[in-house]
């Protein structure tokens, strides 16, 4: 045994801990990246989680969050029982009694069936960080309510819509930078975001290969730390930078002219004469009706070779044609026209680098050099890949042209009230450089590219909201013209969040941040039941947090709550749980089935579609039930047609059964892999009863590699276009011409100007729509600036997500909270000195809408006009089962308290949003700083009274503090 002064070790450091370990694969959900993971179990308990080396998305790597999944699984904040608010107690007090699922379902069935039979729109379903929008959206549609959205309107709908309406796809899992072939990578307004691990992998490889990485951001953290160059910029001004870059590229002819002529609407002729078609594309009447945003056909272009107007397709793309990009022309019938590109030229002519310098803070010479570097790298450092391809008009291209300048952008562009036009200007920039779906540029991921405008109209007909009847369209979609808005004849909104109304017509992701305020106000009507899934709407998933919390408790003159019934489904005791009337405990990602579906948000790679699943690797804790099962159960009880057989019996046993057997179109279901009765038909085929087993046996993922000839230029790649239609990803196989000029926006502008024959907006919204629905991109100051005194509030305040946390989910994680247990406001030392605020000192941060107290850190990694903090670390005392007085509540803070959800507008108020998409403008807030007084308490403000624990929490998880799982000999 132990020999005195022996040098032999007693403790054996090499003892294997892999014996008796079972390994199961599934998909992570610590964020929405959805990496493949291996879960190592001992005695049925999770012992270790690592990246699955055989998974195409992450290839074995895993981030800090994914590695900490164990502590999420055993979090003491886990809800384990359905809860009903004790009669007589107030919302927010958190006083509940545990009830059975049977009772919970009976309550919901009774209430929802009554609503469905009388006034279905009184039921509102809003979801947060979910991955199952195809199912939740289907539920809302089948119920018959238009009042449904996920979190996109609060998050980054500008990024999605701004690019989809321009190039047919966007960043995140819809597309991204091709760093394998790029030489220059420009990352703008990006913090940590999903999908994150693939970005990290690609960036590491890119830097090792000597690629040049420029980061444009007010702050230098995270990825920007390893940028070869950091270009600081003032928040909300990126659009001005892009306009100046466009100016320079065009001035120096650093644009891909052949690309613009063939693959975009740049040469298409725009009507200049005043009238009904002013600013829309001219069309050949003999060839049929005028095209609109959905139909690229029937446009005209000017052929310099023959000196006349020709049909844009197919005439315009014949051999020998030379389509004009510049000039003014007259059609045979006398109509004055100009190519769209000519109008873009005229638009950018005054947006010089000097103009942009005054706005962005970036020196004009730096802007010039940046434009030059982008243009020269894309066009003169280009190369070709030996991949032949056939375009939509039959031309055989012997090689694929690479354009080695790639971009990535995220919330720094999107979360502003000028975000849509800013993103559009970036998309136009990327298009002028010829980088769309080219090697080294921006590459789509299936099911994108989609049509511009995608063929998914949002539900919009007030007459089609009927008792016990599904809607005749999905609640969310992409409007192509004013006739598709969800408004009444008098122009008032149809939906509780005012989405798809004249206030913000292209609100493709809804407006989650408006729901509570509007419901309490009864604008446009009162609702009865609000069901919130995985969204912390009484805390960080809201603006003006303290007011919203009060509104949840607001009562009418009759003494009843203005939102009569509030249901919260979550896995954890978030701040929102205390406000619920009914709480449903959700499972964690390790305890459930899930799909990362092509019908929803898949994990496709550049070279082909990929979808994946989660399978349970441990039993559900307590009485937790996956939310999908709750929806299937309710849909069956309420006898939704899609969930009910002809004989009235229940169609789907459970969620896995639903996933296997539900078909959105013949042969197209939630999962692509191993379809067909024998499991051999991939992508499209009959349901396979063993589909889940096939995924579980194959790392929970299905990947299809497309032939090389179909991997690039997919907006115009004939075999790919046919393939995408055949597999049900698109309804049409038309080429997707890039929208340098957005005639879709012009249709709304014409309506506002009273020039169109169709539907027109209410008078008080005409000027707003006419201003912002500009068919060409432009920059304008964020709307907040016109509503506040910018001298009194000179600083921009923004937030970003830290790499080790994902919203409020993770600041309760025992390991992750040791990385960030609280947050500071980071201030440039020059700015801090001017305000008298010390490094590590307490300060008051005040906006026109609210104030808070927090600690400050001096940082040279932030431009002087900006202050920033991490989002979602600050917590309410007692929430998430952290000790009252925990750093998160005592020292942490939410910037949300300073942000308004509404701005004053024409005798009333309007959402604090982008006027095009309704995107919440939460990075627009302006603040000032002053030091706190020495006698003030050393804690953040506001502080809340600690919320009591609810019944059924997994508090026994505390014993896992040391997380010993070994059977030590």
């Amino acid at each position: 045994m132990f020999k005195f002064l022996s040098s032999d070790p007693v403790h054996n450091p090499t003892a294997s801990s892999t014996a008796d370990t079972e390994v199961k694969t599934t998909t992570c959900y610590m964020c929405a990246c959805r990496c493949g993971i291996r879960v190592h179990l001992r005695d049925g308990q999770v012992r270790y989680i690592d990246g699955n080396p055989d998974h195409p998305l992450n290839k074995g790597v895993i981030c800090a969050k994914g590695s900490s999944g164990i502590m999420k699984q055993v979090s003491p904040a886990r809800l384990t029982q359905p809860l009903l608010r004790k009669p007589g107690s107030e919302r927010g007090e958190g006083v509940f009694e545990p009830i059975s699922w049977k009772r919970a379902f009976d309550i919901l069935e009774k209430r929802l069936s009554h609503l469905r039979a009388t006034d279905p729109k009184k039921f509102a379903l809003f979801t947060g960080r979910d991955q199952m929008q195809a199912l939740t959206g289907l539920f809302a549609r089948q119920f018959g309510t238009p009042n449904y959205a996920a979190h996109g309107g609060f998050c980054s709908v500008n990024m999605a819509a701004g690019m989809i309406y321009s190039v047919g796809g966007s960043f995140w899992e819809f597309g991204g930078p091709d760093l394998d072939h790029a030489k220059l990578f420009v990352m703008i307004g990006t913090a940590e975001d999903h999908h994150s691990n693939p970005m990290k992998m690609a960036l590491g490889k890119f830097k090792r290969a000597g690629g040049r990485f420029i980061s444009i951001n007010p702050v230098r953290t995270g990825y920007s730390a390893i940028a070869d160059e950091w270009i600081p910029i003032r928040p909300g001004t990126d659009g001005a930078l892009f306009m100046a870059l466009l100016h320079e590229l065009i001035a120096h002819d650093l644009v891909d002219r052949p690309f613009l002529q063939r693959f975009t609407n740049a040469p298409q002729l725009v009507v200049l004469d005043e009238g009904e078609r002013e600013g829309l594309f001219a069309f050949d009447a003999a060839a049929g009706v005028a095209g609109d945003g959905r139909n690229p056909h029937n446009k005209l272009a000017w052929d310099l070779t023959s000196g006349r107007a020709v049909q844009a397709y197919p005439e315009g793309v014949e051999e020998g044609r030379s389509l004009a990009l510049e000039g003014h022309y007259t059609l045979p019938d006398g109509t004055r026209v100009a190519p769209a590109f000519q109008l873009l030229r005229e638009r950018v002519s005054q947006h010089t680098p000097e103009w942009a310098e005054a706005i962005t803070g970036i020196p004009a010479e730096r802007i010039r050099q940046l434009a030059r570097e982008m243009g020269e790298t894309a066009l003169h450092q280009a190369f070709e890949l030996p991949i032949p391809w056939i375009d939509a008009w039959g031309k055989q291209h012997p090689t694929t042209q690479a354009r080695p300048v790639a971009f990535h952008a995220m919330r720094g562009l999107a979360a502003h009230s000028n975000g849509f036009q800013t993103v559009r200007s970036l998309a136009v920039l990327m298009s002028l450089l010829g980088t769309i779906d080219a090697p080294g540029g921006f590459r789509h991921k299936a099911p994108y590219p989609r049509h511009i405008v995608p063929n998914y109209r949002a539900f919009n007909d007030p007459d089609m909201i009927k008792p016990n009847t599904p809607l005749n369209a999905a609640p969310l979609g992409f409007p192509a013209n004013p006739e598709e808005l969800a408004v009444h004849a008098d122009g008032t909104p149809l939906r509780i969040d005012h989405a798809f109304s004249w206030e913000h017509p292209l609100s493709a992701h809804g407006l989650m941040h408006n729901v509570i305020t509007n419901a309490v106000r009864g604008d446009p009507y009162k609702i009865d039941t609000l069901l919130i899934f995985m969204a912390n709407m009484a805390w960080n998933s809201t603006m003006n947090t303290m007011e919203v919390r009060k509104k949840l408790n607001a009562r009418g003159e009759d003494g009843e709550y203005r939102i009569p019934f509030l249901v919260v489904c979550d896995a954890f005791q978030s701040e929102t749980v205390a406000f619920a009337d009914l709480v449903l405990p959700d499972t964690t990602y390790l305890e459930r089935h899930d799909v990362m579906s092509m019908l929803d948000r898949p994990i496709s790679e550049f070279d082909g579609p990929v979808d994946s699943v989660r399978v349970p690797v441990v039993e559900p804790t307590g009485e937790c039930k996956p939310f999908q099962e709750v929806l299937i159960e309710l849909a069956s009880r309420l006898k939704f047609p899609a969930f009910t057989n002809e004989d009235g019996s229940r169609k789907f046993k459970d969620y896995p059964d639903f996933v296997v057997n539900f078909q959105a179109q013949p042969g197209v279901g939630f999962l692509m892999g191993w379809r067909g009765k024998d499991g051999t038909q991939h992508l499209r085929g009959e349901p396979n009863p063993n589909q889940w087993e096939m995924y579980a046996k194959n790392n929970c993922v299905f990947q299809h590699h497309m032939p090389k000839e179909q991997q690039y230029m997919r907006n115009w790649n004939r075999p790919y276009l046919d393939f995408a239609k055949e597999k049900g990803w698109r309804q049409k196989n038309d080429p997707v011409q890039l929208a340098i000029y957005s005639d879709t926006l012009q249709t709304f502008r014409l309506a506002a100007q009273g020039k169109s024959k169709g539907r027109q907006p209410p008078d008080h919204l005409r000027e707003r729509i006419a201003t912002y629905f500009d068919p060409l991109p432009f920059w304008y100051e964020p709307l907040e600036n016109a509503c506040v005194d910018t001298q009194q509030f000179p600083l921009a305040a923004i937030t970003q997500r830290p790499m080790a946390m994902y919203h409020s989910w993770d600041s309760q994680n025992a390991w992750l909270r040791q990385i960030h247990s609280h947050n500071y406001l980071h201030v440039n030392p020059v700015t801090a000195k001017a305000a008298g605020v010390e490094d590590g000192g307490w300060a008051w941060v005040t906006s026109s809408w609210g104030e808070l107290r927090c600690m400050v850190r001096h940082s040279d990694a932030v431009e002087p006009g900006t202050v920033w903090t991490w989002n979602a670390i600050g917590k309410a005392s007692g929430a998430w089962q952290l000790a009252p007085g925990a750093d998160e509540s005592r020292k942490g803070f939410l910037l949300n308290h300073l942000i308004t959800e509404e701005l004053p507008f024409v005798g009333g108020q309007i959402s604090n949003s982008d006027p095009v998409t309704g995107q919440a403008g939460w990075y627009d807030v302006r603040v000032n700083l002053r030091p706190a007084q020495p006698e003030e308490p050393a804690e953040s403000f506001p502080q809340l009274d600690a919320v009591p624990s609810v019944p059924g929490l997994l508090r026994s998880g505390r014993r896992f503090m040391t997380h010993i799982l070994s059977k030590k000999p």
Partner: protein, 231 residues
């Protein structure tokens, strides 16, 4: 006293990590993947005090510190992971009164024998890098083990026999291997990229090395290139 069993000697094999500061984005994957592997493995448990309390604190073998250098607008932000550097002349070893702190002759990994450690903390005073952490619950010193329980475990597939942090790192900022083998990945990286030791003035000869930042500068413009060709 008998000859100290762990007197420094030249080893044939020295396993180590190489950390590439050129691509570390500070994501902390290495921090928590290490924690989760080790807390229920041979080197664990890695305890937490007040895990859900007011100010959580706990044992980690690897931490990432982010610091700023220079001033605005030329600020450099550096993400800096740090764990035991498995020095070839480890000052933590000779100071240990019980011999709990030792360096393996077979591969150069420096370890703590928990069953001999009396928690005097002398070794953590000796380490100039602050790489050791005293576990408040178990009252023993703990540190990076270079996943010695993974790298030789034949129950693991060969490609997994590397430290948890190396496997996790999404940007590929962590390399693992034998720095005495000139053909190893780590030796090549050190040679080709100018890998450097931390605080060489302490004469600890750390086995772990860091790779410096490499900046890809703005390329010359077409006009400048043409001018150069002309000349």
């Amino acid at each position: 006293m008998s000859q100290h069993p762990n007197e420094p000697q030249t080893l044939a094999i020295q396993l180590a990590l190489v950390i590439d500061l050129n691509v570390c984005v500070g994501c902390h994957a290495c921090v928590t993947s290490c924690k989760e592997w080790n807390t229920s493995g041979a080197a664990g448990p890695m305890t937490d005090q007040g895990a859900y309390g007011e100010q959580p604190t706990g044992t980690f073998f690897n931490r990432v510190q982010t610091f700023e250098a220079d001033s605005y607008p030329n600020t450099q932000t550096v993400h800096f992971p740090k764990s035991c550097l498995h020095c070839e002349e480890p000052p933590c070893v000779p100071v240990c009164p019980t011999g709990a702190s030792y360096k393996r002759k077979s591969d150069g990994i420096v370890l703590v024998d928990y069953d001999k450690c009396i928690g005097c903390k002398y070794c953590s005073w000796a380490c100039p890098y602050g790489a050791r952490e005293f576990d408040e619950e178990r009252k023993v010193m703990t540190k990076c083990t270079l996943c010695v329980d993974r790298i030789y475990d034949e129950l693991l597939p060969p490609q997994d026999r590397k430290p948890a942090c190396v496997k996790a790192c999404p940007t590929g900022a962590r390399l693992f291997g034998d720095v005495k083998d000139p053909d190893s990945e780590v030796s090549q990286a050190i040679r080709e990229r100018g890998g450097y030791a931390l605080m060489p003035e302490w004469k600890t000869q750390p086995a772990n090395q860091y790779l410096p930042r490499r900046v890809t500068k703005q390329p010359p413009s077409d006009a400048a290139r043409a001018e150069k060709d002309r000349l």
